[in-house]
């Protein structure tokens, strides 16, 4: 255990040969087959476009070859023309708006309560002890089984659909947010104490900012679930919305409309997902 006299000791040049990840002789295949190895952006884009082309190509092949009857699987161009027709006559936007409205109201109400309550639950053992058993019981109850009850209680208006969404995501949000609050590094809180943070300020000054990226991820994921529960609610009781027109189209064998409704939900889901990723980059730039 003797100290080296300085940083440029005679042995330092022997031990400091760096490993070059891009050394020649390492094949392209070996590079992409390495776990967690980054791929170039052009390659990533090319691959994702290829997969999309393959799926749509397969769709064309199935319909044009006559392997599947058009009554069950519409041709791609007829879905497109239906979409354009309904977009031009305005009926598409009416239903999209109705669905977006329900999802947003349900999601916002649920999140406004779940985020602070989840953080408190994860931070204070006493709150966890009180709520955990109940929350874990409720979150395993199938949402669909409550739909008849909600209809009985609050009718078939927008409130019913909002209630289904809240019931579907609230308890999941609560548990996941409480988990991320609980995993905040203990010495981070200790450091805050030694710097003069009051115990009552810990949730706001430490737990909230420390878990913010996780909280945003939870919101992003549960937003996707909200879309799922929306369709469940609309299939049962609604006068408008993308789930409602799917059900109506099924009765009239308009498979192209069903496909359009599904595609619209997919696109809207993709948009909200990107929106949340953008928000995360904006409010938690340190976590990238």
């Amino acid at each position: 255990m003797t100290l080296a006299p300085n940083a440029t000791s005679p042995i330092s040049h022997i031990v400091t040969t760096s490993v070059d990840k891009n050394q020649p002789g390492r094949s392209a295949w070996k590079a992409v087959a390495t776990p967690f190895q980054a791929v170039s952006r052009p390659l990533a884009i090319t691959l994702s476009v290829l997969v999309w082309c393959a799926v749509i190509g397969g769709w064309f092949a199935l319909t044009y070859s006559g392997a599947v009857k058009e009554m069950f699987l519409p041709r791609p161009e007829s879905v497109l023309s239906t979409t354009i027709r309904m977009a031009l006559d305005g009926s598409l936007w009416e239903h999209v708006l109705a669905s977006v409205q329900v999802v947003l109201i349900g999601f916002v109400i649920s999140s406004i309560v779940a985020v602070p309550l989840g953080l408190t639950m994860g931070t204070y053992r006493i709150v966890q002890a009180a709520l955990d058993p109940l929350v874990n019981f409720i979150r395993y109850l199938p949402v669909t089984s409550f739909v008849p009850l909600f209809i009985l209680w609050i009718g078939i208006g927008i409130e019913q659909r909002v209630a289904v969404i809240i019931f579907g995501i609230f308890f999941q949000q609560l548990v996941m947010i409480a988990d991320s609050a609980r995993s905040v590094q203990r010495d981070l809180v200790n450091a805050a104490y030694t710097l003069g943070t009051k115990r009552s300020d810990t949730v706001f000054h430490i737990v909230f900012p420390a878990t913010l990226p996780n909280v945003l991820d939870v919101l992003r994921v549960t937003m996707g679930w909200a879309w799922t529960y929306l369709v469940v609610a609309e299939l049962v009781a609604a006068r408008s919305g993308l789930g409602y027109i799917s059900l109506k189209a099924m009765r009239g064998f308009q498979v192209d409309v069903i496909f359009m409704a599904i595609a619209m939900i997919g696109i809207l889901g993709l948009c909200t997902d990107q929106l949340f990723r953008g928000i995360r980059r904006l409010v938690a730039p340190w976590a990238n």
């Binding site: 010495d187 200790n190 104490y193 710097l195 003069g196 730039p285």
Partner: protein, 267 residues
């Protein structure tokens, strides 16, 4: 400039530890982690506790910080009994504890902000302490963009910016490579010389202990007890070449011997 003079004005207190015990669990499963620990650290003194891993030296520091509750004895800092954590006892942890959501400058001004200091005062404090640790250029970086040594330098700046009466350091350089560790030791001695805070530093590295300390407390394990107290008489400022001096080696041998006896007792 008021803030600066306030922050650099020597303000340090003594630490009195009297017959402190720490017991985990109850009944037959109880483990006595610390037993009958008594010592005193004078204002401005640099005191180092050295001991084998698991001897409870970190726990002792957490007790003084008020982050853990002792099961016996008394602890007082500046004559005031310790009952809970407070900004009068700054701490630098072994783990990296910079707030990842704050920039380097925001981390350093965290304590002053809690005290309600104005933006201008805080800016002066941040500037002073980032200069002190040589990281003024990194004020707007996030901790994730810094190396381990830089993170600990910011952690020291953050603790000192809060103007504590004592600075508790829990193996702050334990996770660093030996080159970085040496430059951190030099830096710490320089900063301590400027601020003249009371420092209680915990380490398992004997070289580090002798190089830094006015006085070394050697601890034994299970239960943790202070085995011996050794005054380090080397003049300051100290050179890192001290490790090759015969006096230094003699002290090191003495401490090694004490720690070895401790191991023998166990087997």
């Amino acid at each position: 400039m008021d803030a600066l003079t306030l922050a650099t004005k020597p303000k340090s207190a003594d630490i009195g530890v009297d017959n402190v015990a720490l017991r985990y669990g109850t009944g037959d499963n109880a483990v006595l982690a610390l037993d009958g620990i008594s010592f005193h650290v004078a204002p401005n003194e640099f005191c180092v506790i050295v001991g084998p891993s698991g001897c409870g030296k970190s726990s002792l520091l957490y007790l003084i910080a008020g982050l853990e509750e002792r099961t016996g004895g008394t602890i007082a800092v500046g004559g005031k009994p310790v009952t809970e954590p407070g900004p009068d006892r700054g701490m630098v942890f072994q783990a990296y504890t910079l707030f990842p959501w704050l920039t380097v400058a925001q981390n350093v001004e965290y304590g002053p902000k809690r005290k309600g200091m104005s933006t201008a005062e805080r800016r002066a404090i941040v500037e002073h302490f980032l200069n002190e640790v040589g990281l003024a250029k990194f004020a707007n970086h996030y901790p994730s963009q810094l190396s381990g040594g830089m993170k600990q330098r910011v952690a020291i700046a953050r603790a000192l910016a809060n103007d504590p009466q004592v600075l508790l350091m829990d193996e702050p350089f334990g996770a660093l490579d030996s080159q970085t560790r040496h430059s951190m030791q030099k830096l710490l001695l320089k900063i301590w010389d400027h601020s003249k805070k009371t420092v209680l530093f915990v380490t398992h590295d004997i070289d580090e202990a002798i190089l830094l300390a006015d006085r070394v407390l050697v601890m034994s394990g299970r239960p943790g007890q202070i085995k011996k107290e050794i005054r380090i008489g080397f003049s300051r400022p100290r050179s890192m070449d001290l490790v090759m001096e015969p006096n230094f080696i003699a002290m090191k041998r003495e401490i090694l011997e004490l720690l070895k006896n401790d191991e023998d007792d166990e087997h």
